[in-house]
Amino acid sequence: MDLTQKVESLSSIEAKALKALDLEKLEGMEEIAKKSGLPIDSVRRAIEWLKEKELAKVEEEKKETIVLTAIGKSSLNKALPERLFVEALQQLEGKGSLEDVFKKSQLNRPEFNVAMGLAKRNAWISIQGGKKTLLEFTGLEKEFLEGNYPLEKAMKKIKETLELNKEEKKALQEALKRGLAEKVVEVEKKAMLTADGKKAIALLETVKKRTYNVHGAVPKIFIGKKHAYVQFLDHARAKLLELGFKEMESPLITQEFYNFDALFQPQGHPARQWTDTYQLKQPKTGGLPDKKIVERVKAAHENGWTTGSKGWGYKWSEDIAKKVMPAAHGTAHSARQLAAGVEIPGKYFSIARCYRPDVVDTSHLIEFNQMEGIIIGKDFSFRHLLGMLKEFAVEFGQAKEIKFLPDYYPFTEPSVQLSVKHPKLGWIELGGAGIFRPELTQPLGVKDPVLAWGIGIDRLAMCALNIKDIRQLFSQDLTWLRNTKQVVWENA
């Protein structure tokens, strides 16, 4: 690059910084910022670029300064231990037992020992052994008591960043040793013009007007966009709409009736307990649907009603069914939809926020999304269930190979797990499905088979967004969000 090209390549920030540089002497970044009117961060960056283009010379200056430590500062504010020590002895009229001085001084034991050692070394006191250790002033303490103590003077000057005299410099060593002061090394970058830099300034006016540097960096623009995970969920939703599914209402709070009872989950079942689902302090209860439906659900639990089932054989309680709770799974909304009435044939889906009192870790959230739904048709069989899953495997898992495994859900029979060979993730459990039990569908007024399915959407989202930790689906990192690419479904 010749000089003209270099000048062409300068951004406006670089040009401003360049013009602020001195040819004769190195200057610090703050000074250059002041002269150029640029923010200090921009100056730092610009100087780096100018250095690479050999228009600026940069040198690092190491500056060693001495500052008081936290202990040093507080000692200076309160008084050094040796002063407290000597003052204590002074209050005892210059003579006293070690324990008396200790008590008077209100120092702790280590501080007191240090202070006594110092007093001895400076010959302010004499120590006499015996039954009790006796301490006594020597007369040399007077100067100290009058305030002439180099260590204190040195510390005050350090605080005010004043020059130390010879005696104080000696005392400084003591301060460093005692951790009252410390050395801090600061690296300061300084810059000045090179000869080319000087020529470049001259060229700036003429060259700069003609062209922009097309290679140069320009300020970053952050565009408006949806949260990456929301983009992914919107794609999944669009896919379901394409496949002919209708969206169901999916309230965050539901009655236990829909979350459990209508799904033929017995009321004493452990899955209904505290540890497995959230319960509410307030509100406590909600309403139940049409009495006819409630009566039939009750009968299904107690004796199977007319479904041909034995039922669970216990006394079903309306009060438990009325309790409200944060929805623990999306199937609650399928139950609500069936109770409210469905088209036959019909396809329904929900992408629902669900809640479970788990321990949050890389694969569990206490609040998460579930994608699931139902397909209702006159003569649907287990083979249709597999046919539906095969379609999902292709549409959602981009799978060429699939596998069906026997599975268990309390509300479906037969039940099946869908495993697929995902191009990126290998064999994964993509979802679960089954035919809703007659004890579930018939009390809700549906006579035809209902195929129920759920897809593990979060797993796919994590793959599409290239993240390993499920918590990142709800990422609160603005920089990461700003830098995410637009989520395209083919990447899923």
């Binding site: 969206e247 209402e249 406590k284 396809k347 083979r383 046919g387 379609e391 609160q476 603005l478």
Partner: protein
Amino acid sequence: MPNVEASRKDLQKLIGKKLDTKQLEEAIEFAKGEIELIEGDRIVIDEKDTNRPDLLSAEGIAREIRARIGIEKGVPKYKIRKSDVSVIVDKSVAKIRPCISAAVIKNVKINEDMLVQMINSQEKICGTFGRKRKEAAVGIYDWSKLKQPMHYRAYDPRVKKFIPLEYRIEMDLEEILLEHPKGKEFKHLLEGFSKFPIFEDSKKVVASMPPIINSQLTGKVAMSTKEFLIEVTGYKQETVNTALNVMVSAFAERGFDIYSVKIKYANKTIITPDFTPGKITVEIDEIKKISDLDLNTKQIVELLKRARYDVKVKGKKLLCEYPAYRPDILHPVDVAEDAIISYGYNKIKPKPIRISTKGSELETKKFKRACENVCIGLGLQGVLTFTMTSKAKQSEMIGFGPEKEQFVEIENPVSEKYTVFRKRIYPELLEFLGKNKHASFPQKIFETGKTLELKQGTETGVSEKNRLCIVLSGKGAEFTVIKGVLDAVADNLGLKYELKQNTEPALEKGKSTGVEIASKKGIVGELKKEILQNFGLEQPTAVLELEI
């Protein structure tokens, strides 16, 4: 879903046929299990069917596999020997925990594998099928230390004493409930009763206090134990019988001898274990219809025998008998699934679904999307926060007194951070900004989502609202700018708003206002400095939140 741990060698021996890892994996799928881990001799199986207590042990899984791979067929026949042992049930337990079943096991050959299976399956059966011991609690005793007949009766908790398992001192029943770890864990099962059940022998030597804890002296099985007494208590005879059958049949699978016990209730005597098979009648056409497979009756019968059913064909019906350890068969669909599993899920040709339906989404979702599009047009970054949050963030930190605000509130939170549902979105977005002070400014973010309020008279006692929240932070985030955003949002969505009194104490007076759009409320304005400080924010920040 419970994990079943086993020694692979032990499992192989129980199956009675050598299977390589792949074959074993496929065989275990028949038992609704998935291999989680194979490590040397250790194998961990994730058992998915929580309604099959018989599959919670290596013995049970092996038994299921033996039939599915064709080594055996039909309901297993166990030899039950008669004994003169009886359990006398006193009336005093009738209201507390009325039902009991029991068996004596002899010719016991204990080894470590067997012991692990026994202890683990006992615990899992009580936990799942037994509904955490409520419906079924199992006790196993060293029979040589007890003298028959056994008695099941209730005692005053202060009068009766014994040494509970893992303890050295005698405690009365009250003390056990208060102090023993198992007492604390399960004391709710005896809540409200003035007497507690005791299972003891003819000499009043205590075996256990069902469903809480065994005695240290008699209720402990050692490697040297030769004979067991096993007992199950609960509220329903059918349930305790099934649990007993599951446990006892696992012993039988290992070749131990099973002896029956007479249970003498005040008004009747029954004999347990009762291995009379369960009965269910299924229409052949129903299995054909559900499975949609081209099968004749003979083939269906064969598939069911592989699922351990005994089947008689009667006209168009199948009279099915299933093992007495299976509580999960309620309806013909359960039988149909067993037939299909025997057939093999992956041998079935899927049938495409050919129905014509029209996809559609909720109106609220459509409007939400329109709002999001406007936000994108405004150059805002979408964010996503949780709907569960803390009370402090939704009240004190935004200037409300601690008791002023009522929320939809969680009864059993797992973290202080998530105890209520949010009523507004903006405090969550302020917290978001607080986490991103290092990111470049200005920061302009939005979220659309639900907020919850208590409301009587609704179906769930809750009113769920969809809201849009926009927060601008950085130089120039002033009232005039955020009101400009409000105007842009309103114009582009074709909405007209009216100005109302602001009710949010977080907003600066004179630089904020309430708004209302067709009786839906909102706020717009600058946030007070002290509110920003609560979230660690230094830059000027303005907010717009609307119900949409």
